[in-house]
């Protein structure tokens, strides 16, 4: 050993065998990491396979009419996906309409306008908001937001927007406080920190040179945000929004508390409704037979829906490459 470190006698070292050991080590390492990566894919496929197998009785009974059936009735063993799917899509859409502009606003403030001393506290507050468990949002929603909606906000909406032709159709009673709009508000607050955090991070990637040049040319902050920040970071923004949307689609606990769990189809967005995840969480424990299979079929639809959102995000990101 002492000789070797002195670099005197290399002839005693078997170079070939050492290379072989290194190669073997590398191969083992390669297969271990490959196995880890493969596990994710296998898990995803396994979930899909189990969902499809367990949902099969539903599709055998109702065929594709499950997809446009509007009745969900255990006593008659008749199930249709429309109320839950529609509730999921509408509540997520409204949540995004509220959360996206707010998140962008917060992010622009934090990166462009915020005094340095405030930047850290606000940033930390947003990260903490992301860490609040969803059951807390559900409880606060039920005990604080629902009475507020029931007594003040919803009656106001019915008295104002509710009277406008066409749009008013979406703001009709019954409005007992729980409902789609309440669920959307809770969802918006829940996805806000995710979208904000990503938006802030991608805004920070804009090269200072670009930004400074724009200001130097006399652009206002609004013009910088509109013409420099957003176009430059379009890909990241789409990613952040889609991540938020994915979370909103699948959120269960908080929504179950405030959505009202109504499986009838209703036009009004302030009335009680249901979502896929709320429907599953509510009735899974007591369900059996065809009802259980139909709940799993709903789960399969949510799986596909989330997959489509992700695929759409990838596609949009790909398209915006050419800007």
């Amino acid at each position: 050993m002492v000789d070797a470190t002195n670099g005197a006698d290399f002839s005693r070292v078997d170079v070939a065998s050492i290379t072989k050991t290194f190669k073997l080590q590398d191969r083992i390492f390669f297969f271990m990491t490959l196995a880890s990566a493969a596990l994710v894919v296998l898990m995803l496929l396994a979930i899909l396979v189990v969902l499809v197998i367990d949902a099969l009785p539903t599709f055998q009974t109702f065929g594709l009419s499950f997809l446009w059936g509007t009745v969900w009735s255990a006593p008659t063993d008749h199930y249709g996906a429309v109320p839950a799917v529609l509730g999921t899509l509408i509540s997520s859409l409204i949540a995004m309409l509220i959360a996206v502009p707010l998140s962008f606003g917060i992010a622009i403030f934090l990166t462009e306008l915020c005094p340095g001393s405030l930047r850290r506290p606000i940033g930390t507050a947003i990260e903490l908001l992301a860490g609040v468990p969803s059951i807390i949002y559900g409880i606060v929603g039920l005990f604080v937001l629902v009475p507020l909606m029931q007594l003040y906000i919803l009656p106001f909406l019915i008295a104002t927007i509710g009277q406008v032709p066409v749009i008013g159709y979406l703001f009709q009673p019954p409005a007992p406080g729980v409902g789609l709009l309440t669920a959307s508000l809770v969802l918006a607050i829940m996805v806000l920190p995710f979208i904000t955090a990503i938006t802030r991070d991608v805004f920070l990637t804009v090269p200072p040179m670009l930004r400074e040049s724009a200001y130097g040319m006399g652009m206002t902050t609004w013009e910088v945000a509109r013409n420099i920040l957003i176009p430059y970071t379009r890909r990241g923004l789409v990613g952040g929004v889609m991540l938020g949307l994915g979370r909103a689609l699948g959120e269960t606990m908080a929504v179950t508390f405030v959505v009202g769990s109504v499986t009838r189809l209703q036009a009004s967005i302030i009335s009680p409704s249901t979502t896929i995840s709320a429907q599953i969480a509510n009735t899974f424990g007591e369900a059996d037979g065809l009802q259980l299979s139909s709940l799993i079929a709903l789960g399969l639809l949510l799986f596909i829906l989330s997959f489509c959102v992700l695929a759409l995000a990838k596609w949009m990101i790909g398209r915006s490459d050419s800007f």
């Binding site: 006593p75 007992p176 769990s261 009838r264 009680p272 509510n282 369900a287």
Partner: protein, 342 residues
């Protein structure tokens, strides 16, 4: 290396001591299912352990999930708020018997109306939950409550959003008293309600009713007591107006025809008798007739025998109604045939 050897020795010692400990006691009696029976079953398990040193381990996962676990043979007994059909029992070699009863109460939150002031009958109740009676000063309600000053505010119907035995028994009652309900909605642990909105769990229903003026719902008796909620009297099948009390719930269980029914499949709603509360509920225990482990099965039966004989006081303290003695005797008689007990 030294560490591994130490660890292996430790594990071996632990295994041996566990085996020895396991041998001195019988294995735990495991059960799963109904959350309705959970408080009283847990109390019984405590008392039974003190008396016999045997441990009963119950998971309150919901009736449907409990039956699923029983069929997967991961538990010794299941407990369900909705009796299993004769065909399902036959097919799987199971037997069931009622273990506990309780009452479901119609609760309301109407300004100016005190708890216990209102009276409903089956038809009006079905009318409200069908959405045909929409205001508190409806003539049908006024006729039943001539002395109560009812507001003209709209009625908000609240129901259990999650699948539950409470919903099963309540809708079973409505199906018995209203042909229209039976035809349009039916009875199950969750149904498609024609009006109203859902709240999660009994706690959710209690909170929502308290928050919503003009609301009506149904909930287990103990929640009405604990939360001091508004409750109604009901007109029973004999045409008498009764208060929700443990006595009227017990009358429902006592007046039901348990002996004449196959597999004890009696839903104790709308039962005869002057004192009978019309919306009572029971929980059934389900066991294998030919279990894989007969000693464990007999252990479970011994626990239920103990509960029938010594558990009434615990039940009453928790606002449940023990199965009447006349009925529990019939049940234990049936065990000889079903499980071969002595």
């Amino acid at each position: 290396m030294n560490f591994i050897r130490k660890f292996a020795v430790g594990a071996a010692v632990a295994t041996i001591s566990l085996t020895v400990a396991g041998a001195s006691f019988a294995a735990d009696i495991t059960g799963a299912g109904s959350s309705f029976i959970n408080p009283v079953l847990s109390k019984w398990a405590e008392g039974y352990k003190a008396a016999t040193k045997n441990i009963v381990n119950y998971q309150s996962v919901g009736s449907g999930a409990g039956i699923k676990q029983l069929l997967a043979k991961t538990v010794v007994f299941g407990a369900t708020d909705k009796p299993m059909s004769d065909a399902d029992l036959e097919k799987n070699g199971l037997a069931q018997f009622p273990m506990i009863s309780g009452g479901i109460v119609v609760t309301y939150n109407i300004e100016g109306v005190k708890p216990g002031e209102l009276v409903f009958d089956g038809e009006t109740l079905a009318g409200i939950f069908l959405g045909k009676i929409t205001k508190w000063d409806d003539p049908a309600l006024k006729k039943l409550n001539p002395d109560v000053k009812l507001p003209s505010s709209p009625i908000s119907v609240v129901y259990r959003a999650d699948g539950s035995g409470t919903t099963f028994n309540f809708t079973n009652y409505l199906s018995k008293v209203s042909p229209e309900w039976k035809e349009k909605v039916g009875s199950d642990t969750a149904v498609q309600w024609p009006v109203g909105f859902g709240a999660k769990g009994s706690e959710g229903v209690s909170t929502t009713v308290a928050q919503t003026a003009g609301s009506i719902s149904y909930v287990e008796y103990s929640y009405v007591v604990a939360n001091k909620m508004g409750y109604s009297k009901l007109k029973n099948a004999a045409g008498k107006v009764v208060e929700p009390t443990l006595d009227t719930f017990a009358a429902a269980a006592a007046n039901a025809d348990w002996k004449g029914s196959k597999n004890f499949n009696v839903i104790v709603t709308n039962q005869p008798g002057d004192k009978t509360w019309p919306i009572a509920a029971s929980t059934w225990v389900v066991l294998y007739k030919q279990p894989a482990d007969k000693a464990l099965n007999d252990g479970a039966l011994d626990f239920f025998k103990w509960a029938y004989e010594k558990g009434q006081k615990d039940a009453t303290a928790l606002n449940y109604v023990a199965i009447p003695e006349a009925v529990s005797k019939v049940v234990m008689e049936s065990w000889k045939k079903d499980f071969g007990t002595k």
